[in-house]
């Protein structure tokens, strides 16, 4: 249904203002009350912003940077930029001036729209190094009245100025008419974990088609409520809060401040909700801690009904048959426990919930699903306008990322890397033809950089690791260290894992215990320890870890493709892997190569069958001094499982 007058976000806005102008488009909590903008009001404001930008001589295709927290006016500014013929470039608001310099310089923005004084100050600081910036617009006037206003404008004044200029209206009209599916909708910078950030150019076709497809997939409609709290510079927020919101015409709610997000979530009760695994994890921890403090009766009731929920909830969500008595118990639990709990979490109305970004722990995932919350996983990236695969209702599992979103084609390369082709595939990386060519081929197939496979019987995609980390073992079977490491890291006792086995005949692992969790356990069981090293080497700790490893081996063995990755031998490291020692990046990702070099003697011991090893390790203290710690580590064998029969049967 690509009607010409729906070929851009501003066109969708006009349609919405016409079809349901009196329905809320935005809400923001301010001064303790939810303030709303209807679609008609939103259109009026967006037009005002567009006219204001024209009064600053905005040229077609010009980049306009937008920095700030999620606020309706900033969303409307993005659409205002589009309406005036420009391209919005939202930036991460918590970026320090240094990081901002690169992006502002790279996109060449002449006009910057900032949320408040903090952001204005940052841009002013950057301006000494970035020559392109000429005009700045701000939203929150606080603290800015005394600034030099020759190149600084408050959004309100700018709108008034734009509306007053009669000669700009025809210009706005012609700019709007020039927009079509092929014109650029937005440019989003990838966060840049690998090298410099890249500006991903997405067209109206990318955004609108993807929004349409994904909305159909989950039957989203005009009645949805969403809470916009994730960074505006992130592609997900752009799709949810602008793409899908404008396509369906649903209301976007903005929290009062970052700190009130949980309260606001509860007040709004979103029907469509997205959160990274970290948020679900924090919420669950809060619930568990508060339950431990609750009275005995409440606690017993909670645990009893949570057991029922674990057994019955996911089955009910998946539409499977459940016995009558279980159904009755679950209904009682809904009244006594699940309902109030979901209400506290602000999730009672969630019809479609998503988590993505990284692997989510199966227990966390199951906890929410057992409460009856339809939490699902999706797999996507900026270059795809988010959606590559999604889980269908009733086909949700913690270990897959679902089937391709309508319109997406998938293929798996020889080395296991996942490629996709879809209406959402980005146009190009801005000013970076080399990277564009390296990522997207002539036929439109895009490399994800992730390795995975499609399950033969269900068609679900499973992501196992970054493609560059995946290797082959000596017998030719697939080696995917992160897949196993993630499984182990879901145990609270285990903080970090490094699995070895590339080119070898078996897999082994280094394990770091989590001092908080294991220390807590030791305290409760009266196990005395004087140091991290002593606790890490305690035989009972080793036995606990061994049990975890063996449990993971069972689940790895179930997987035909990855059964070779079972851990045969492991040791618990005597020190925590630390960024100060160069063993991890500052964002706490293990540097495999450095760990392999530094602990070569330990790896050798894991493979030569010895039962203990003595070692000396250099450590760097926080003040930069260096020291050495000596340790004798016990090496343990873990039970592994045979799966050869199934391979042979094929």
């Amino acid at each position: 249904m690509t009607v010409p007058d729906m070929g851009s976000i501003p066109a969708l806005l006009r349609r919405n203002a016409q079809s349901f102008g009196d329905q809320p488009a935005y809400r923001e909590k301010e001064f303790g009350i939810w303030q709303a903008w209807t679609w008609a009001e939103a259109l009026d404001e967006v037009e005002g912003i567009a006219l204001g930008l024209l009064s600053l001589d905005l040229q077609p295709g010009e980049h306009v940077a937008i920095i700030g927290r999620n606020r309706p006016e900033l969303y409307m500014s993005m659409v205002g930029v589009q309406m005036a013929g420009g391209v919005p470039v939202p930036l991460y608001q918590d970026a320090v001036a240094e990081e901002m310099t690169y992006v502002l310089d790279h996109c060449g923005a002449r006009i910057v729209i900032a949320g408040d004084q903090e952001q204005v100050d940052k841009v002013l600081e950057v301006r000494e190094r970035v020559t392109g910036i000429e005009q700045m617009i701000y939203l929150d006037t606080r603290g800015l009245r005394k600034y030099d206003h020759t190149h600084l404008h408050s959004l309100k004044d700018l709108i008034a100025k734009g509306k007053a200029a009669a000669d700009l209206k025809p210009v706005l009209q012609s700019r709007g008419a020039a927009l079509d599916m092929q014109s650029t909708c937005v440019m989003l910078y990838t966060s840049g974990t690998t090298g410099k950030p890249k500006g991903v150019v997405l067209s109206n076709h990318n955004i609108i088609e993807t929004s349409r497809n994904s909305s159909d997939f989950d039957h989203l409609g005009q009645g949805e409520e969403v809470l916009a709290y994730l960074p505006m510079a992130w592609v997900g927020d752009f799709i949810f809060s602008i793409g899908q919101a404008y396509w369906n015409g649903f209301c976007v709610n903005c929290p009062e401040s970052a700190d009130t997000m949980m309260t606001d979530l509860r007040e709004i009760g979103p029907t469509y909700y997205f959160a990274p695994p970290r948020i679900f994890e924090t919420q669950l921890t809060h619930v568990m801690i508060r339950m431990e403090d609750a009275g005995g009766l409440k606690r017993r009731m909670f645990h009893y009904f949570m057991d029922v929920a674990k057994r019955v909830g996911p089955a009910l969500l998946d539409g499977k048959a459940v016995s009558g008595s279980d159904k009755l118990l679950y209904r009682l639990g809904e009244i006594l426990v699940y309902g109030p709990l979901k209400n506290t979490l602000g999730l009672s109305k969630v019809r479609v919930g998503y988590t993505a970004g990284e692997a989510i722990g199966p227990e966390i995932f199951d906890f929410y699903r057992s409460l009856g919350i339809n939490l699902k996983q999706l797999y996507g990236q900026t270059e795809a306008s988010v959606f590559i695969t999604q889980q269908k209702d009733h086909e949700v599992r913690p270990d897959t990322v679902g089937t391709p979103t309508p319109g997406v084609e998938l293929k798996i390369a020889e080395n296991g890397e996942v490629f996709y082709r879809s209406p959402g595939v980005f146009q190009e990386y801005f000013k970076n033809a080399d990277s564009t060519a390296g990522t997207k081929d002539a036929d439109g197939w895009v490399a994800t950089g992730d390795a995975g496979f499609i399950e033969a019987d269900t068609g679900h995609l499973r992501i196992i690791d970054r493609a560059k980390d995946v290797g082959k073992m000596a017998d030719g079977s697939l080696f995917a260290p992160k897949y196993v490491e993630n499984k182990l890291k879901f145990f609270p006792n285990i903080l970090e894992v490094v699995v070895f086995g590339n080119g070898r005949d078996m897999c082994t692992a280094f394990i770091n215990i989590d001092l908080t969790a294991v220390g807590n356990w030791a305290e409760r069981n009266n196990i005395a320890y004087g140091s991290y090293q002593e606790l890490a080497g305690h035989p009972q700790v080793l036995s606990t870890i061994q049990a975890h490893v063996e449990e993971v081996n069972v689940s790895v063995a179930e997987d035909e493709m990855l059964s070779g990755c079972q851990i045969h031998r492991f040791l618990v490291l005597h020190k925590e892997l630390d960024p100060d020692d160069g063993e991890m990046t500052r964002t706490r990702k293990v540097r495999r190569r450095i760990v392999e070099e530094k602990f070569a003697d330990l790896i050798a011991a894991l493979y030569d069958g010895s039962s203990s090893v003595s070692t000396v390790t250099e450590v760097t203290y926080e003040d930069g001094r260096k020291g050495a710690i000596k340790a004798t580590l016990e090496l343990r064998d873990a039970k592994t499982h045979q799966v050869a029969q199934r391979m042979a049967a094929e």
Partner: protein
């Protein structure tokens, strides 16, 4: 230069008006102890005025004289061109003078919102019966007051603790709530008794920003006592220095910094 009564504009663009409050030859005694000895100084409209001095110099006593809590035995207090007679603290509050305390004085069991609402007391005109039955003027008044309080909550960025009982808050936030309550009275003159005592650097920076913003956005005149010299010198337009109940310096931060008496009082002098 600044002894003239005319208003002037500071380097950062703020307008400082004429004299708002003048203390003339104030002497305050507690029994045989002389807390304040013959001190005179003024506070001008729109400025940030600091009172500093070593421990026991009489700073808090001075603030209590301004707020009407202590009545000096000698001397006169002039406010906006009129000699102020001895007043009870609530009468002073109605004049438009609000304060915070060195030791936080909030209602611990009440929410942040309710605590700040108490600051609106001087603005409420409906009587207790109207309020009890929520009728007529009381309802309208409450809405208007709540709106004002919400603006202060927004201004101080404490939305997330709006409904939290004050007793559960950390120290730095309590200080901010207390500032909120003082602001709720819409004061013309705001007295701050050691607003940054016991705070870490980040909290001090936040508080400094709020004080500057209050002065800037609402045009409120601020008189503050503070120990942190860095903060005082950065924030204030003029500084009074006290030592043993006497005034030993008065002027801009730079003038005070170079005043030999002040240096001696802070660093000590050798007696040989």
């Amino acid at each position: 230069m600044k002894d003239t009564v005319d208003s002037y504009v500071t380097a950062d663009g703020r307008t400082i008006g004429g004299v708002m409050m003048e203390m003339k030859n104030i002497t305050l005694r507690f029994g045989g102890v002389v807390a304040i000895k013959d001190i005179s100084f003024d506070i001008r409209e729109g400025e940030i005025r600091a009172i500093i001095g070593p421990n026991g110099a009489g700073k808090s006593s001075m603030l209590n004289v301004i707020s009407g809590f202590y009545h000096p035995q000698e001397g006169e207090v002039w406010f906006r061109g009129q000699r102020r007679p001895s007043m009870r603290p609530y009468q002073v509050a109605r004049l438009g003078i609000a304060r915070t305390f060195q030791n936080i004085a909030l209602f611990e069991g009440m929410s942040v919102l309710d605590n700040i609402m108490t600051g609106r007391l001087t603005q409420m005109k409906s009587n207790i019966i109207q309020q009890a039955i929520w009728w007529g003027a009381a309802e309208k008044e409450e809405t208007a007051n709540r709106e004002r309080v919400e603006r202060i909550i927004d201004f101080l960025e404490i939305q997330a603790i709006r409904k939290t009982p004050v007793g559960r808050l950390p120290y730095g936030l309590k200080k901010r709530v207390e500032l909120g309550r003082a602001l709720a009275a819409e004061p013309k003159l705001l007295l701050l008794d050691e607003p940054m005592a016991g705070m870490n650097v980040e909290e001090k920076e936040d508080m400094s920003r709020y004080i500057l913003d209050v002065n800037d956005e609402f045009g409120t005149t601020v008189a503050l006592i503070e120990h942190d010299m860095g903060v005082v010198m950065d924030l204030s337009d003029r500084v009074v220095v006290m030592d043993y109940g006497k005034k030993i310096g008065d002027g801009t931060p730079d003038e005070v910094r170079n005043n030999q008496d002040v240096i001696d009082a802070y660093l000590g002098v050798s007696h040989d």
